[in-house]
């Protein structure tokens, strides 16, 4: 996984609550095994019914063409668990999302891909949102994970909290599967114990058929 230390660039405000993954990655519009994730990002919202870009949508406005930080409201990424809603962010260069809160699965998908999810308390978030709107893409913000700070125009640095384990995982770009495989022996031991205690949990088969008989 790509490590994350800090990102500096344009912060784009998308100040709505409960933005769901159908909105972020409307996969119904490009049903393919490997769609163009950048093109898919907010495609429905970015596009007017006639297919032309909606000039009012923040990500279409010239000053936000190359965003690095997305700033949004409560419960960002609710709905479907689709990871395309994270891959699309990375595909357009967004490396950090600053939100009032994240949906549980979306936040996990961010951590899995080196996309930094920053949660700010409402009063801190409100102030930061005002600064992002005032900057209007003309000045850069920095989200620094090492220092756990947001730095930018219009006010003092903003400290943010993130669980130390999540921070370490992002800073080091750790391979999550690799971390777990350090416990391969314990997994095997658990399986052996369960196979004795509750063998029906360690075998899954259609009992209308003899073991080994294919369906």
């Amino acid at each position: 996984m790509q490590p994350f230390t800090s990102v500096t660039g344009i912060a784009v405000p998308l100040l709505q609550d409960d933005i769901n993954t159908d909105q972020i990655a409307p996969v119904q519009m490009a049903r393919a095994l490997k769609p163009d994730y950048a093109d898919l990002l907010f495609k429905r919202t970015r596009t007017r019914p006639d297919g032309s870009p909606d000039p009012d949508f923040p990500l279409n406005r010239p000053q936000f063409r190359n965003p690095a930080i997305l700033v949004t409201g409560r419960n960002f990424g609710c709905g479907s668990s689709r990871e395309a809603a994270v891959w699309g962010m990375l595909a357009v260069g967004i490396r950090a999302i600053v939100a009032r809160s994240f949906a549980d699965i979306y936040r996990e998908n961010c951590l899995q891909n080196g996309l930094l999810p920053v949660e700010l308390a409402p009063e801190v978030a409100a102030d930061f949102e005002r600064r992002v709107i005032a900057a209007d893409g003309r000045a850069h913000f920095t989200v620094d994970l090492r220092e756990q700070r947001i730095i930018g125009p219009g006010g003092p640095d903003i400290a943010f909290q993130i669980p130390p384990a999540d921070r370490m995982r992002l800073l080091e770009g750790l391979d999550d599967i690799g971390l777990t495989l350090k416990h391969a022996e314990e997994i095997a031991a658990w399986e052996q114990r369960m196979a004795r205690q509750a063998p029906w949990m360690q075998t899954a088969r259609d009992r209308r058929r003899a073991p080994g008989e294919s369906a």
Partner: protein, 469 residues
């Protein structure tokens, strides 16, 4: 201090705690679908890893399959690549596949419970947010994205942080034609779409104890719509009766041994919950959503709320929802004309759902101009429904009766509404464009959707069938 049911299952499946503090929770069953698994197979192979337990992993084709009778891989042109990639990936890794022509194919969240593949006290991973459905059997379902799916393939565990615990006690008694779907929508209205964030939910109380298993599956299915990743009902005799004799369930001495363990699966009386909520369901009406998230819901006799009177933080969202839905504050939902009615999805297409809808439809016809469709949850449900003649009830009334799949819930298989249509639907998400570009979705129970289909407008099913309330 006692432990909650959630903690008992969690602790029993905790293999280790990683250096980063995450618990490795063993996944007894892992069920995949074709939208996300092919990508994970590829990543796994690129990393030179193998599927640790192909014998505990199952593949199901459900999201992109066409529902038209006589379907093939290419009936939905966008689906073929997914179906083939799933077939080839499952073969490469030795995973049992429920393919489009399998006599037990269906939606993953319908197939696993009905076969007895998932059991009380088990853990269950699916790369789909509605994995929580299996909580209805007393199992712990965890939905996930593609990376975590690959993680489970490689390790058979998920690396999770222990969530907080919430109990929702549902008290009272449900009136006629008021169902688990109505209860679930009411809960989401009360708690909000983020009310369950960070929690594992246990549903308890008289309403749950009296609820049949298929209702409990519906109730737990909608847990993710209030933001909680998993929800569970303690298994009881209703659960064990429902599971006994299912083809994949243990039998004989193994069944007896399993049953003895399952009977201990309940929260201790003094178990601590971080949040405890009680909802009295006695006066609950059939619920219908008016907006574009599942918390924007009212009883059938209610009127669309006025954003002007709402919490300021919700006002903008409500105004957007009203504009999308083409509704004005203060209007009743009852009487609103519909273009389309859909009965299906992992939320509401099990046999009892179809029976509830058929009971309303029998002897009636779909209103002129309304397009109505019933998609059973699985081939098993379809066979059982046909054995009872339900397909004739629906077809003679003017419904289309199709082959199992996610269909108009996920919008991934070509089944969708036309722009601007108003659709009443038994599914789980009324998000903008979910059922087609500019389609306006109203979520409701199978009985309420059936009633609207025959009336041509949203109605109180109890009035349509002449029940006194």
């Amino acid at each position: 201090m006692g432990r909650t049911l959630f903690d008992k299952i969690w602790d029993a499946h905790r293999v280790a705690t990683r250096a980063d503090g995450r618990d490795l929770i063993y996944m007894d069953r892992h069920v995949l679908h074709e939208l996300h698994a092919p990508h994970a197979f590829e990543c796994l192979e690129r990393a030179g890893r193998r599927v640790r337990r192909p014998d505990l992993t199952f593949s199901v084709q459900d999201h992109t399959v066409a529902t038209r009778p006589g379907r093939t891989d290419t009936t939905n042109p966008d689906g073929g690549d997914f179906l083939r990639a799933m077939r080839e990936g499952s073969r490469r890794h030795g995973i049992r596949l429920f393919d489009i022509d399998d006599p037990e194919q269906g939606i993953c969240h319908v197939v696993a419970p009905e076969l007895g593949m998932v059991l009380p006290g088990a853990t269950h991973a699916v790369p789909d947010s509605h994995a929580c459905s299996v909580g209805g059997l007393g199992a712990l379902g965890y939905g996930c994205g593609t990376s975590e799916l690959e993680h489970v393939l490689a390790t058979q565990v998920m690396a999770l942080k222990r969530p907080k615990r919430m109990r929702i006690r549902l008290e009272g008694r449900l009136g006629p034609h008021v169902t688990a779907k109505d209860v679930a929508l009411r809960i989401i209205a009360e708690l909000g779409v983020a009310g369950g964030r960070g929690y594992a939910v246990e549903y308890a109380g008289a309403v749950v104890r009296n609820m049949p298993i298929e209702g409990r599956l519906t109730l737990c299915n909608l847990t993710i719509e209030m933001g909680a990743r998993t929800g569970i009902v303690a298994p009881d005799e209703t659960t064990f009766d429902w599971l006994a004799g299912r083809p994949w369930a243990p039998q004989g001495a193994e069944w007896d041994a399993a049953l003895a363990g399952w009977r201990t699966l309940r929260s201790d009386d003094d178990a601590p919950f971080d949040t405890d909520v009680e909802i009295d369901c006695t006066a609950l009406e059939p619920q219908v959503t008016w907006g574009t998230d599942p918390s924007q819901v009212i009883g059938i006799s209610g009127r669309v709320p006025d954003p002007g009177g709402a919490d300021p933080s919700h006002r903008a969202g409500m105004e957007r929802a009203l504009a999308y839905m083409g509704l004005k504050p203060g209007v009743p939902l009852a009487g609103l004309a519909i273009d389309r009615a859909f009965i299906g999805s992992c939320t509401n297409n099990r046999l009892s759902d179809l029976e509830a809808a058929a009971a309303v439809v029998r002897g009636r016809r779909v209103a002129p101009g309304v397009k109505a469709m019933v998609i059973p949850g699985s081939q098993t449900v379809k066979r059982q429904a046909e054995a009872r003649g339900l397909h004739q009830v629906f077809e003679s009334a003017g419904f289309l009766w199709g082959e199992p799949g996610c269909s108009m819930c996920a919008g991934s298989n070509g089944d969708r509404g036309e722009p601007g249509e108003r659709c009443i639907s038994t599914t789980n998400r009324n998000f903008e464009h979910r059922q087609g570009t500019r389609v306006r979705t109203h979520l409701a129970s199978p009985a309420t959707v059936a009633a609207a289909a025959v009336a041509g407008r949203i109605v109180d099913v109890r009035q349509l069938v002449g029940v006194t309330v």
